[in-house]
């Protein structure tokens, strides 16, 4: 079975990508997983400079999910390029870098540094982190903001450009359209849902940041719906995510319209999940006599739509 997919000019050997924020800089997992087996590795979000992140507690487990408010702790793009990227390349990883910014200029500068570095497969634009005040979501929650940041970064890089959309909007499909009009090569969705948990004994919020982002199987049906809506709105490849914990979950996203999928929270519980995802997808394709995984994309929209 042919598991390869294309995201713009980037070919992935299979559709399974480790989701940004859930896989460190990839190298943390190199002892457990052959990074070259994955379709891609989306590394933790990077600003120009290093960032501290929020005080702990940073996560709370909730039914079939978890809240996080990490605050984009990170080493900054320059240290990433010098200290992490060469080793990721040596290990054969297809590297997708999640790019953050407090301003449009910062998004552009980080993207420029990554383009110049070489060895980066694609840029995922983080315009959707719910946990920081400056940057990110202020662009992702406004149609003009989304257009402006994608359009500006488009002018400084030829790398495949993938805005990561937030689900914390009324009509996510309109943000997919804004991304397409601004020159994106693909979109990824969903980032986490803004959420909260309160300790009823201390009567205080459980996260130091008060609010956090909900991920995990609890959000999966909503994420599938949003991928489905975006597929109807745009013809760009979609990187679908939100609670994927098995090959079957991933297939559901593909049928909704995702060309590739990202797996995050489930990797925390099972860092060895990747081989079972790949073999599960392969078995499914064989059982349904589908030669290429790309033929699955969007089938839930009906045959006419899927083969249009």
């Amino acid at each position: 079975m042919d598991l390869s997919v294309h995201i713009g000019s980037l070919r992935l050997k299979n559709p399974f990508i480790a989701a940004s924020g859930c896989f460190g800089y990839g190298l943390e997992y190199a002892g457990a997983v052959d990074l070259a087996l994955l379709g891609g590795v989306a590394v933790k979000g990077l600003f120009l400079a290093e960032r501290e992140g929020h005080a702990p507690p940073r996560i709370v487990e909730t039914p079939a999910g978890m809240l996080n408010a990490i605050g984009l702790q990170g080493i900054g793009v320059h240290r990433f390029v010098n200290e992490k990227l060469p080793e990721l390349q040596r290990l054969g990883a297809t590297v997708i870098v999640n790019v953050c910014g407090s301003t449009i200029d910062e998004y552009c500068e980080v993207s420029r540094v990554l383009s110049d570095a070489g060895g980066v497969g694609a840029i995922e634009l983080n315009i959707s982190c719910p946990n920081i005040k400056e940057g990110g979501i202020q662009f992702g929650c406004s149609l003009t903001g989304t257009f402006d940041v994608v359009n500006a970064v488009r002018k400084v890089t030829r790398l495949p450009l993938i805005p990561k959309l937030t689900p914390n909007v009324t009509d996510v499909a309109s943000f997919a359209r804004a991304s397409a009009e601004a020159g994106a090569d693909a979109i990824s969705l969903v980032n986490t849902f803004l959420a909260m948990a309160i300790d009823i004994e201390t009567q205080r919020p459980k996260l130091s940041n008060v609010l956090g982002g909900l991920s995990g199987p609890a959000i999966r049906p909503i994420a599938v719906r949003m991928v489905y809506e975006c597929r109807q709105a745009v013809s760009l490849p979609i990187l679908g995510m939100g609670g994927i914990a098995s090959a079957e979950d991933a297939i559901e996203f593909m049928l909704a319209g995702a060309t590739a999928v990202q797996v995050g929270t489930a990797n925390f519980a099972d860092p060895f999940i990747w081989t079972s995802l790949i073999s599960g997808l392969d078995t499914y394709l064989e059982r349904h006599k589908i030669a290429r995984v790309s033929d699955l994309v969007g089938l839930a929209h009906g045959p006419a739509k899927a083969h249009a």
Partner: protein
Amino acid sequence: MLIDVAAEVIANTRLSSHYNVVALAAPEIAARTSPGQFVMVKPAHGFDPMLRRPFSVFEVLRDAGGRATGLSLLNKRVGVGTSLLYDIRSGDRVGCLGPLGRPFVPVDPPADAWMVAGGVGLAPFATLTDALVARRTPMTLFYGARSAADLYYADRFEGLGARVVLTTEDGTRGEPGRITAPLERALAAQPADRPVTVYACGPTPMMRGVAAMGRRFNRPVFVSLEPVMGCGMGGCYSCVVRVRRAEGSHFVRSCLDGPVFDASAIVWDALPDGH
């Protein structure tokens, strides 16, 4: 090397209505475990709970020939995951990933090794004791709990040659009060030319107190922290602890840079008491 096994539960020994010891058939992990390392445990299939829980390896279990046959976990029932582990039955399978984290470095004679445990904080000291016995390092275990019913395995440590000092908050066994009181007296009485290394694990206020004594009496203190942890692999950045560096301080992941830290490097005021 990192190993993940669906380990069979060999035994579940209930110590009280809240504490139990679970023995797992995970010989490959046990054989590679250094003192103070931890495993990430998933007590049940499914999504509630979804994440694994970190546990210090309590004992490395061995057969008559000294070969590792498994490991045990000292569990305190507090939430969903630890309740499942409290109720688990022999023959059940438990996801067990490890060994993980930076271990304790056991000190050699002529130094004394003083271990300070608060409640379930006893967990990392059985493996450390084994390593100290092998080095013939003189050991003292300072072990405090709420009540006599919460003090376990003191005999086991005594049997291995450790001097054991006990305290209970309600005075039902050992000295009444907190374990930091006899520790402080012992530090004050220790001759300056007798080196001693202190190892501590327990509630944050206790470890903060032990760290302060280490500074005051100029003795090295190593602590094993038990923060909330999402993955144990460095992926989630949830288990961060603020440490001092040459320039200022910053957050490091306790799963990779810990769980054992030099107490003098930790910014104690930044550590939540819930740890």
